[in-house]
């Protein structure tokens, strides 16, 4: 072939290597800030010398974690609380999701949105508002019932108080917003076949709908368990008064005392990490196999008529919306106007002083500034980092992409407080990173890592729906990789990316667990300020700050929703 001599030669192999280098760089960075700190935590659990003394390795920390009654109790408490929460919230969530998705419940779309909004409420704010209702002495519900029956029946500072707040904050809402779309997308012919075969509505729901949905339900249960193990503020506020510790508060306690017990704290952390890893793997495995039970898109699933059950069902759904959304919002607001937080009986109980005090406070303004900078930077950094990770995992043939995928899930396996601890070690231990300690940049990194499982997951599913052929068509039409990314990928992914940014903004604004060990007075955001106020027993100021965070969160939830994010893309 004579023409061959005219061939244009292109150094394509070098281009390939460049892509590999880029992917490796991302992988290395993510591994540095996610995997390496966790390894440090594990190593630290064998370092038994107190801070300031020569390094000595031993098993004292592990002995303490497994042997000391206090620590053992904390572990038992953790698993008991988690188990009871899931046990109570799962059947309720399945029932609510079924009502919202598969029946003719009036206003079901509004209810779904209400649960979506409630999911964004900061647990700390919710805790404060329920204190107003259920405080053993002064709680409104208690005093009202005392007038009727003569005793104060509720005490929020108890095991059941903690479980209650957990159920209505994390456990229930997250399950409802994840299960509802899954139920909606279920192929209705399974149910119709059962009805035709002679089964009633309830029997069909129990014998067909729920078993068919079992993988989705199990996956949500695992996800819920992981999410619920992350919180720390509920126990910190409600558990401390009656010396009830779970492992996250125990770790915090071990670390903030005068002689920190790093070895015992990290040994506990490793135990929890080991318990969580199988959950993550199981969750990933389940979501992979979920496809066959659900059918998405064009399928128009018919709803079940509730008939006489319409009103009771409506009452039930409405009651839960009141409990998970209205009560926290209303009472948190109410609390901000109280002269003495929680005391409804005193004369002249209302005041604007709390707002004016807080808003005029130098500390508050500095923290507000910190929060705005922190949340905005975290949102921007998240969009860049998470979309890069998601793109590598979904779209490239890079050899390490599976590994990157698993790493992006790791932050879910460790409670926020441990992640904070791990980052603390990373930034104090690695020389060139030390200047970052005490800066907002450190908190931004923590925020990006904390939001990684959710953010990467949402962008991944968005990219998955995009279909690679849309990009390939652009390449063949003559567009370079960059033009394609700009004119096709970014344009189509923009709503998803903005929604992820919004969610991260909210998460960073209200995050406590990840930041607790990383903040100094210089970079303290609002979420830590409210905790400090609580520690100083300034509950009035705390609730004002909590309300500010709550409105930021609700605004973010609304915006993310308007940007087109549906809860279905979270799972």
């Amino acid at each position: 072939m004579a023409g061959l001599t005219e061939a244009i030669e292109v150094p394509g192999a070098r281009r390939l290597e460049l892509q590999g280098v880029l992917c490796t760089l991302v992988l290395a960075l993510v591994a540095l800030v996610v995997v390496f700190p966790l390894v440090l935590v594990a190593l630290q659990s064998f370092q038994v010398a107190p801070p300031g003394q020569p390094v000595r390795y031993g098993l004292d920390g592990w002995r303490a974690a497994l042997g000391e009654p206090g620590l053992r109790t904390a572990l038992v408490n953790t698993f008991t609380v988690t188990f009871v929460r899931q046990l109570l919230s799962l059947p309720l969530a399945v029932l609510l999701a079924w009502l919202l998705a598969r029946t003719d419940l009036p206003g079901r779309h509004w209810f779904e949105f209400a649960f979506w909004a409630a999911f964004f409420l900061p647990p700390f704010t919710v805790t404060l508002s329920w204190i107003l209702l259920l405080d053993p002495e002064y709680g409104l519900l208690n005093t009202w019932l005392a007038g009727l029956v003569g005793v104060h029946p509720f005490n929020i500072y108890s095991f059941w108080g903690i479980v209650w707040v957990h159920v209505i904050t994390g456990s229930l809402t997250v399950k409802v917003i994840l299960l509802t779309p899954a139920f909606r997308n279920m192929n209705a012919s399974f149910e119709e076949a059962s009805r035709v075969a002679g089964a009633g509505g309830l029997r069909t729901a129990l014998r067909i709908t729920v078993p068919v949905m079992a993988p989705a339900i199990l996956s949500v249960l695992l996800l819920g368990t992981m999410v619920s193990l992350q919180t720390f503020e509920v126990e910190q506020v409600l558990g401390l008064p009656f010396r009830f510790f779970v492992f996250s508060t125990t770790i915090y306690d071990l670390l903030v005392t005068r002689v920190p017990r790093y070895d015992a704290a990290t040994a506990l952390a490793v135990l929890v990490l080991a318990a969580m890893l199988p959950l993550v793997l199981a969750q990933q495995w389940l979501t992979r196999g979920r496809r066959y039970t659900t059918i998405t898109g064009q399928f128009q699933s018919r709803v079940h008529r509730l008939g006489a059950w319409r009103l009771p069902a409506l009452g039930l759904a409405a009651a839960f919306v009141v409990i998970v959304l209205a009560v926290p919002v209303v009472f948190a607001l109410l609390g901000t106007f109280m002269k003495l937080f929680g005391f409804f009986q005193i004369a002249d109980r209302w005041t604007f002083a709390n707002w004016t005090n807080v808003l005029g406070d130098e500390t508050f303004l500095r923290s507000l500034h910190n929060t705005v900078v922190l949340a905005t930077s975290t949102a921007v950094a998240t969009i860049v980092v998470h979309s890069l990770i998601a793109y590598i995992v979904v779209r490239t043939r890079y050899a390490g992409r599976r590994f990157l995928d698993v790493i992006s899930w790791l932050p879910f396996t460790v409670p926020g407080i441990i992640l904070g601890l791990a980052l603390l070690w990373l930034f104090l231990g690695v020389g060139f990173l030390r200047p970052l300690y005490g800066t907002t940049a450190l908190l931004v990194i923590a925020g990006v890592i904390a939001g990684m499982p959710l953010g990467v997951q949402i962008i991944k599913s968005g990219l998955g729906q995009l279909g690679g052929e849309l990009e390939e068509a652009s390449r063949i039409a003559g567009a370079s990789w960059w033009t394609t990314y700009r004119r096709i990928v970014l344009r189509l992914m923009a709503p998803t990316l903005l929604a992820v940014g919004m969610i991260t903004f909210v998460g960073a604004a209200r995050n406590i667990g990840n930041f607790a060990l990383l903040t100094t007075s210089a970079n303290r955001p609002l979420s830590m300020l409210q905790l400090d106020y609580v520690a100083q027993r300034k509950l009035e100021e705390a609730v004002v700050v909590a309300c500010v965070i709550m409105f930021v969160s609700l605004g973010g939830a609304l915006l993310a929703r308007l940007l087109g994010l549906r809860s279905g893309s979270l799972g």
Binding site: M1, A2, G3, L4, E6, A7, I8, E9, V10, P11, G12, A13, R15, L16, G467, E469, L470, E472, A473, S474, R475, I476, A477, G478, A479, S480, W481, T483, R487, I488, R491, L492
Partner: protein, 376 residues
């Protein structure tokens, strides 16, 4: 550049191209060449490597071995570590999913490749309008791409791939998402368009009717390798391998032992049970293999080549076997009959000029020039 080679100019050639997925050889030393203006089809079952071959040509995959040469330019070579990205190959491609960009209108979809080529606005408007008119989408140019029917989306994808006059048009199962009637119509339209514009097409399909009706030449792909290349009729009538024979159209296969040759035809004693054992059929040797006398062999014939006549017709000849109609269905233009031939069941089409009955005995004639003999 060499001398203009006229109509036989090669647009694309693949030289022992191999693509590995893990250890599987998805494309295994495939060599082929496509001439200017022809429709060349890669036909094979799903997973045979035909789409991967297309993607290699498009530049969406990197070959592990071999070279791809597009209009005298090496666009990919594993040995010389060359790779020209897809945007620099000047190809057109219609995807199975059409890949119509949902955030653009019909006009914007078609204009996109021209914008990338820095064509002036006026020329873009003109060219897009012309190509949309060509496929009957003229009135829809402002409509969002997602608000089109399946057939319209496909026409749009075709426009988008043709508007910049690519050197080669790649079609990746473009008809598979259409319903049967629309599929037939689009097939006609594409063929007409191709003949009018004289475009060179590389077409990938698993549908033999599409392949046979659209192609100038077909390559049957199996297990990452090309089994046979040739014009549709040649492939259908003279398959070079058992796979090609069975993949294209229907075949009736009988087993027997090779007897002594007589003249051109090879005589094979058919082994059927009961009354038919020991009957002799003649046929020609199919592939270029030798068959020893006494060897076990397969006799193959297309059902439509079997001459059906009622029992007792005057033309009692050699190369006949008896059959019985098991079930009979009238399908409009003809009868569809399941006929048992010993233990074999054969579907035959019978003319409606005559009344047929279930249970009726038939004489089935096997014209020796239509029977091919294969090694077992």
């Amino acid at each position: 550049m060499g001398a203009e080679l006229g109509t036989t100019e090669t647009v694309l050639s693949l030289d022992r191209v191999t693509k590995l997925f893990g250890t599987t050889r998805a494309v295994d030393e495939v060599s082929l060449s496509i001439r200017r203006g022809e429709v060349f089809t890669l036909l094979g079952p799903s997973g045979c490597g035909k789409t991967t071959t297309l993607r290699l040509v498009a530049g969406l995959e990197h070959p592990d071995e071999g070279e791809i040469i597009l209009r005298d330019r090496v666009v990919a070579s594993a040995r010389r570590r060359l790779f020209l990205p897809p945007n620099r190959r000047n190809l057109g491609m219609v995807f199975q999913s059409y890949a119509v960009w949902p955030h653009m209108t019909v006009f914007e979809n078609v204009a996109y490749p021209l914008q990338l080529r820095r064509v002036s606005r006026a020329v873009i408007r003109d060219k897009v309008a012309r190509v949309l008119d060509l496929v009957g989408l003229g009135g829809l140019s402002e409509r969002p791409g997602t608000l089109l029917s399946g057939g319209q989306m496909q026409r749009l994808a075709l426009c988008r791939a043709l508007v910049y006059e690519p050197d080669l048009l790649l079609l990746d199962e473009p008809f598979s998402n259409l319903d049967a009637k629309l599929r037939e119509q689009m097939r006609g339209e594409v063929k007409l368009l191709q003949r009018r514009l004289g475009i060179t097409v590389l077409f990938v399909t698993h549908d033999q009717v599409e392949a046979l009706s659209l192609s100038d030449r077909i390559a049957v792909v199996h297990g990452g390798r090309i089994e046979q290349v040739g014009p549709p009729r040649c492939l259908y009538e003279k398959p070079a391998s058992a796979f090609v024979r069975d993949f294209l159209g229907q075949t009736v296969i009988l087993q027997g032992r090779v007897g002594p040759a007589s003249g051109e035809a090879l005589r094979v004693a058919v082994e059927l049970n009961g009354s038919m054992s020991g009957r002799i059929l003649s046929g020609r040797l199919a592939a270029s293999v030798a068959l020893e006398t006494g060897a076990v062999a397969h006799l193959s014939i297309r059902p439509e080549d079997i001459e059906v006549s009622p029992l007792g017709s005057p033309s009692q000849q050699a190369n006949q076997l008896p059959g019985i109609i098991d079930t009979l269905s009238f399908v409009g233009d003809r009868y569809e009959a399941r006929v048992s031939l010993g233990e074999h069941r054969v579907v035959l089409f019978l003319p409606r000029a005559r009344e047929w009955r279930e249970g009726e005995q038939l004489q089935l004639g096997f014209p020796p020039e239509m029977v091919s003999v294969w090694p077992a």
